[in-house]
C-alpha cells in the first residue's frame, strides 16, 4: 500500500463518488473500509478496489440519545449492512421508518432487504450511508 494516508484517500474518493475498499491478495476477501491489512486473514497484501455500493440491510434501529455530533440528525436509522462483496458495515440508513415502532416491527419481517449506497455529508464529513431501494 502507498505511503500516503489510506484514510485520506478513502474520504477523497467519497468526494468523487467512489467507495473504496480493499481486496486481499492472499485469501481473496474484500474489506471495508480500507485498512493496512486484511481483516479476515491478517495479510498485508491488500490492494484498493472500488466497491459496488450494493448491499443487504440486516437490522436497524434508532437511538433516542445519539452522540453529540449527530444531535441535529436525530432521530436517524442506524443499521448493519452486508455489502455485496462481503464486508459488514454499521452506518446511517435512509428510507426507513424511525419513529413508528409498529411499522418498524412490521418491516422486520422483510429483512434482510436490498439497499444501495448513498454518499452524503453528515456532520461535516462525507460518509457512506445506505438507502432502502
Amino acid at each position: 500500500m502507498c505511503a500516503d494516508s489510506i484514510v485520506r484517500k478513502f474520504y477523497d474518493a467519497l468526494e468523487e463518488g467512489t467507495i473504496l475498499g480493499t481486496k486481499c491478495g492472499e485469501c481473496g476477501a474484500y474489506n471495508f473500509p480500507p485498512k493496512t491489512a486484511c481483516t479476515e486473514c491478517g495479510s498485508r497484501s491488500v490492494e484498493f478496489v472500488e466497491l459496488s455500493g450494493k448491499g443487504e440491510l440486516q437490522f436497524y434501529s434508532s437511538g433516542n440519545l445519539p452522540p453529540l455530533r449527530f444531535a441535529e440528525y436525530a432521530p436517524y436509522a442506524y443499521g448493519l449492512v452486508k455489502m455485496e462483496e462481503g464486508p459488514m458495515w454499521l452506518t446511517m440508513i435512509k428510507g426507513v421508518e424511525v419513529r413508528d415502532t409498529d411499522r418498524m416491527t412490521e418491516f422486520l419481517a422483510e429483512l434482510p432487504c436490498a439497499v444501495s449506497a448513498k454518499i452524503e455529508e453528515v456532520a461535516g464529513t462525507k460518509i457512506v450511508t445506505f438507502e432502502v431501494a
Binding site: 452522540p67 453529540l68 422486520l108
Partner: protein, 427 residues
C-alpha cells in the same frame, strides 16, 4: 489459532476487594474520595482478605479506562505510594471495560514466568464527575461529554463518523437478531427483557455494594405502579433504541476492585479457600460489525480458548458472569458460551432460573445494571462476585450449590473480550 501453552506455575486468587459502586459525589461509603483513595479502598480490602501487607506484593497492575474524567494517566506512578508499593514494579493496563478481567491473565502470566510471585491487580474508574483545580473538589460530568470521550475507544477514522450510536449497535441489533433467528415476536422478547431486569435488580438489592437499591417492583411502586410489567411498558421505561428499553441498559458509576494473585502452590499460606485461575483468553476486534450479531468472533474465540486451557466443557460451569452492559447479552452470551441451550436460553429467564436461587445463576451481583458498571473496575467486581460465591461468602445471595467452576466474561469497548475460568481448589 496457536496451540495453548500451559503456564509453568499455577496462579490462585487469595484475596479480593471491591468498593461500593456509586457516585463519589454522593454515595455513602465512597463519598468525597479521590480516584487514588477509591483504588486504595479496594486494594487494602483485598490485602486484608489475604492477610497480606503491601511489602508482601511483588508487582502490581492497575487498570483504569477513563483518563478524561479521572484527569489521570500513569496510574502506576500516581498510585504506587498510596498503595504502599513505591519502588515496586507496576504498570497501568487497559482493555476498556474488560480491563480488570484481563488483569487475571496478566497476573497468571507474571507468576507463570517465574519473575514475580505475589501480584496485586486493581481496577478503578471515576466517570460520573471530574476533578476541579482545587483538590479534592469535583463537579458532575456531563453525560454527553462522557460518552464522547468513551467513544475514543471506537474507530474514529471510519466507524464513528458513520453515525456511530451504541444503543442501536450494541443493544437493539442483537435483540432483533435473536428474535428473528429463533422466531420470537418482539412482544415476547420484551417479556424476556422484563424478566432479565427483574432478576438483575432482585439480585442487586441483595448486594449492599451494588448501585441499584430497589428491585423492579419497589421502583415501580415508588412511581405509582403496583404492577411492575405495567411499569416496564410505561413512560418511565422508554426505548433507549427500539426495541431495547432504558432499564435494559447499564448504570455507569464510580468504583474500584482488586484481587491478590499468588502462585497456586503457595496459595494455602494465605487462604483456606484458594480460587485457581484455570484458564484465560482474550480477543480484540475493531468495532461492532461482525458477521453474526449474536455470535461474535471476539466473544466465541476467547470462550473456546479459555475452556481449552482450563480443560473444561460448558456443562461443567456452575456460575456464569457475562458482560451485560446491555442485558440482552445475558441471553446472547449465555447461549454462545454453552451455558444456556442455543435457541432455548430465553426460557431460563422466563422461568426465573438465573438468580442466586436458580439452577442457572448468572451475574448474581446484578450485572452492569444492578451492580453497576465502573468501566475498568467492573472485571474485578465480577471476579470478586465469582470468588465470593465460590467460597460460600456471598451473604444474602449465596448460590445454594457452591460453584466449583466459574466463568467470568467481560467485553471492552470496542471491542476486547476477556474470559477467565476460575476453579475452587477442592472441587
Amino acid at each position: 489459532m496457536a496451540g495453548q501453552v500451559r503456564l509453568g506455575r499455577g496462579a490462585s486468587i487469595v484475596g479480593v476487594g471491591c468498593t461500593q459502586f456509586g457516585n463519589i459525589l454522593e454515595t455513602p461509603g465512597i463519598k468525597g474520595l479521590c480516584t487514588e483513595e477509591l483504588a486504595v479502598k479496594a486494594a487494602f480490602e483485598a490485602l486484608d482478605d489475604a492477610g497480606l501487607e503491601p511489602k508482601d506484593i511483588d508487582a502490581f497492575f492497575i487498570g483504569g479506562v477513563q483518563m478524561h474524567t479521572a484527569h489521570m494517566f500513569a496510574h502506576y506512578s500516581r498510585m504506587c505510594d498510596w498503595l504502599g508499593l513505591q519502588r515496586k514494579p507496576g504498570i497501568h493496563f487497559e482493555t476498556a471495560c474488560s480491563t480488570s478481567n484481563t488483569g487475571a491473565g496478566l497476573a497468571a502470566m507474571a507468576i507463570g514466568s517465574g519473575r514475580w510471585e505475589n501480584i496485586l491487580v486493581v481496577g478503578v474508574d471515576t466517570i460520573l464527575s471530574h476533578p476541579l483545580d482545587n483538590p479534592p473538589e469535583r463537579e458532575p460530568q456531563d453525560a454527553g461529554d462522557l460518552w464522547t470521550t468513551t467513544d475514543y475507544g471506537a474507530d474514529q477514522q471510519y466507524a464513528v463518523p458513520h453515525g456511530w450510536d451504541i444503543a442501536p449497535g450494541y443493544g437493539a441489533l442483537p435483540t432483533l437478531a435473536y428474535a428473528k433467528r429463533y422466531g420470537l415476536s418482539l412482544a415476547a422478547m420484551d417479556e424476556v427483557m422484563f424478566n432479565i431486569n427483574m432478576a438483575v435488580r432482585r439480585q442487586a438489592v441483595l448486594e449492599p455494594k451494588a448501585f441499584v437499591k430497589q428491585d423492579l417492583p419497589t421502583l415501580a411502586q415508588s412511581l405509582g405502579y403496583s404492577d411492575p410489567w405495567e411499569f416496564w411498558n410505561s413512560q418511565y421505561n422508554p426505548y433507549a433504541a427500539w426495541p431495547t428499553r432504558a432499564l435494559s441498559c447499564l448504570n455507569p458509576c464510580d468504583g474500584a476492585s482488586a484481587y491478590v494473585v499468588t502462585p497456586a502452590d503457595k496459595a494455602k499460606q494465605y487462604t483456606g479457600k484458594p480460587i485457581d485461575i484455570l484458564g484465560f483468553d482474550w480477543a480484540a476486534f475493531n468495532g461492532l460489525a461482525d458477521k453474526d450479531p449474536i455470535n461474535w468472533d471476539v466473544d466465541r474465540l476467547p470462550f473456546e480458548g479459555a475452556y481449552k486451557m482450563a480443560g473444561i466443557t460448558p456443562d461443567e460451569i456452575d456460575y456464569l458472569s457475562v458482560h451485560d452492559c446491555m442485558q440482552i447479552y445475558q441471553l446472547v452470551l449465555g447461549e454462545l458460551c454453552g451455558y444456556l441451550e442455543k435457541g432455548q436460553g430465553y426460557k431460563a429467564f422466563l422461568e426465573g432460573r438465573t438468580g442466586s436461587d436458580g439452577d442457572k445463576p448468572i451475574c448474581t451481583h446484578g450485572g452492569k445494571h444492578g451492580k453497576g458498571h465502573a468501566f475498568g473496575a467492573s472485571g474485578g467486581s465480577d471476579i470478586y462476585e465469582a470468588v465470593k460465591q465460590m467460597r460460600g461468602e456471598a451473604e444474602g445471595r449465596q448460590i445454594g450449590k457452591v460453584p466449583g467452576i466459574s466463568v467470568v466474561h467481560n467485553a471492552g469497548y470496542c471491542m476486547h473480550t476477556a474470559v477467565t475460568v476460575l476453579g475452587r481448589r477442592d472441587s
